[in-house]
């Protein structure tokens, strides 16, 4: 099994038919374990039970960026290697990425609520996620604007790559803008210093959500391939010579 085998949409369909149930099962099991562990994790001495939002928020936030990375690689595949599945992968990933980003926003705002007293604060992290969300929506709008997916693919690929270069710049600018106005970010998360009681459920959840993405992404790619086949069949039907009346 090589990359060129995968390039064939028919083989991709038959391969994913076999592995998708396993992936979905693994995702469900890991999510169940992760959620149980998250519920059982101790309350934080400062934040109380609200800290448990972290177990949902952090994987979503991580995936919101990871999905853009996946789309960037797929975009390179479209522009440079002309891989036939690359734009399918890029198109299928965008709504999923947007959904993860949206969840990161909602959970972030719920998490911040007890600390800020409002659902929204122009906090550097959350603001960056919000801009990422807008970029996802723009990308989806671009895919939707053109009926012919192969024509939309190149435009979307260029936009995705420009976005990939721009996201760090935006992130830096937003951080700078934010520190200009308020010295410290409210939401602090110790990286390696995080307690083991929190770290393990968080890692499990991160893996579970990543698997969830892979499952959803493969399923969405299958849908997209089938949608394009349907379109091709419809065009074939349109070009038929009718029986003359």
């Amino acid at each position: 099994m090589t990359l060129s085998d995968l390039a064939n949409p028919t083989r991709f369909l038959s391969l994913t038919t076999r592995i998708l149930p396993w992936l979905a099962g693994a995702t469900a099991i890991l999510l169940a374990i992760g959620l149980t562990q998250s519920v059982l994790a101790p309350d934080d001495y400062q934040q109380g039970a609200t800290v448990k939002i972290m177990f949902i928020h952090v994987p979503n936030a991580w995936l919101s960026m990871f999905v853009w990375g996946v789309m960037s690689i797929a975009s390179l595949g479209t522009l440079v290697w002309r891989h036939p599945l690359a734009d399918v992968a890029a198109k299928a990933a965008a709504p999923i990425g947007a959904a993860f980003t949206f969840l990161a926003l909602v959970t972030g705002s719920l998490w911040g609520r007890p600390m800020w007293g409002t659902y929204w604060e122009w906090d550097a992290r959350l603001t960056s996620v919000l801009i990422l969300f807008l970029m996802y929506l723009g990308l989806i709008a671009l895919w939707r604007a053109v009926e012919d997916p192969s024509r939309a693919a190149r435009a979307a690929a260029i936009l995705t790559l420009v976005g990939a270069i721009n996201i760090p710049i935006i992130k830096f600018s937003v951080d700078w803008w934010n520190t200009l106005h308020q010295p410290a970010s409210v939401m602090k998360m110790g990286g390696p210093s995080l307690d083991r009681a929190f770290l393990i459920p968080l890692l499990v959840m991160a893996v579970a959500f990543s698997l969830l993405f892979v499952t959803l992404h493969l399923a969405a790619m299958r849908n997209e391939i089938l949608r394009r086949r349907l379109r091709a069949l419809q065009m074939l039907q349109a070009s038929q010579r009718p029986a003359l009346p």
Partner: protein, 222 residues
């Protein structure tokens, strides 16, 4: 009547299908509103005070920019010729197209207002006030913008020219829309006065817009 219903259904359908612009307006609205704090600073008290004005400006620009193709698309593919030759009065056909545009592009802006209100630190009552004024005021924006869209067809120019033509016409709507929202939030003015004037502006534009647009389309025949 069934002719107008058919026109409204068709325009909404096109707006919601692939290539239609209904949701791009909301996205534009969202983006403009999100940009404001970067210019003003993230001070929640300040944003809360300016919130109604920001939301109104965003809605104004969003509803204007999506109007661009209101008649242009029908002109380009020849549909406008057939509409002109129909038994439906052109004024009513224009009104139906504007109504369809408002339903597909204006109503989503109002639906998005609570989310954006939250970003701008508006409380529930203030957000409801802004949404109510937008509900009363956006028809005026669409129906006066329609005049510009009709002129754009006859001049074969769209985009910025349309904005330059229509923005001054929408100043009264902006004034009373923001005034009514602010009155509801902070006082001291009563909410009723500016809101009534806003409704009056909308009603007047419902009459003036279709006639002006139809006249402009008729005289711009080529």
């Amino acid at each position: 009547m069934s002719a107008l219903g058919a026109l409204i259904r068709r325009d909404i359908r096109i707006a919601l299908r692939v290539g239609g612009g209904a949701l791009i307006g909301v996205l534009f609205f969202l983006t403009v509103v999100v940009l404001m704090p970067f210019a003003l600073g993230p001070d929640l008290a300040l944003l809360g005070r300016l919130g109604p004005a920001i939301l109104w400006l965003g809605a104004l620009l969003a509803s204007l920019l999506t109007l661009d193709r209101l008649f242009m698309a029908d002109h380009d593919d020849g549909s406008l010729d057939v509409i002109l030759m129909s038994r439906t009065p052109l004024e009513l056909a224009c009104a139906a197209k504007a109504l369809a545009h408002w339903l597909a592009a204006g109503v989503p802006l109002i639906v998005a207002t609570p989310v954006l209100g939250m970003l701008l630190n508006l409380d529930g009552a203030s957000t409801a006030a802004v949404a109510l004024t937008l509900l009363a005021g956006t028809p005026a924006l669409t129906f006066t913008g329609m005049i510009g869209a009709a002129l754009a067809v006859t001049l074969q120019r769209g985009g910025l020219l349309l904005a330059v033509l229509v923005l001054p016409l929408s100043i009264p709507v902006l004034i009373f829309g923001v005034a009514a929202s602010n009155a509801a939030i902070a006082g001291p003015l009563s909410f009723g006065t500016p809101f009534s004037i806003l409704c009056a502006l909308s009603l007047a534009s419902l009459v003036i817009g279709p006639f002006a647009a139809a006249a402009s389309l008729r005289h711009g025949l080529d």
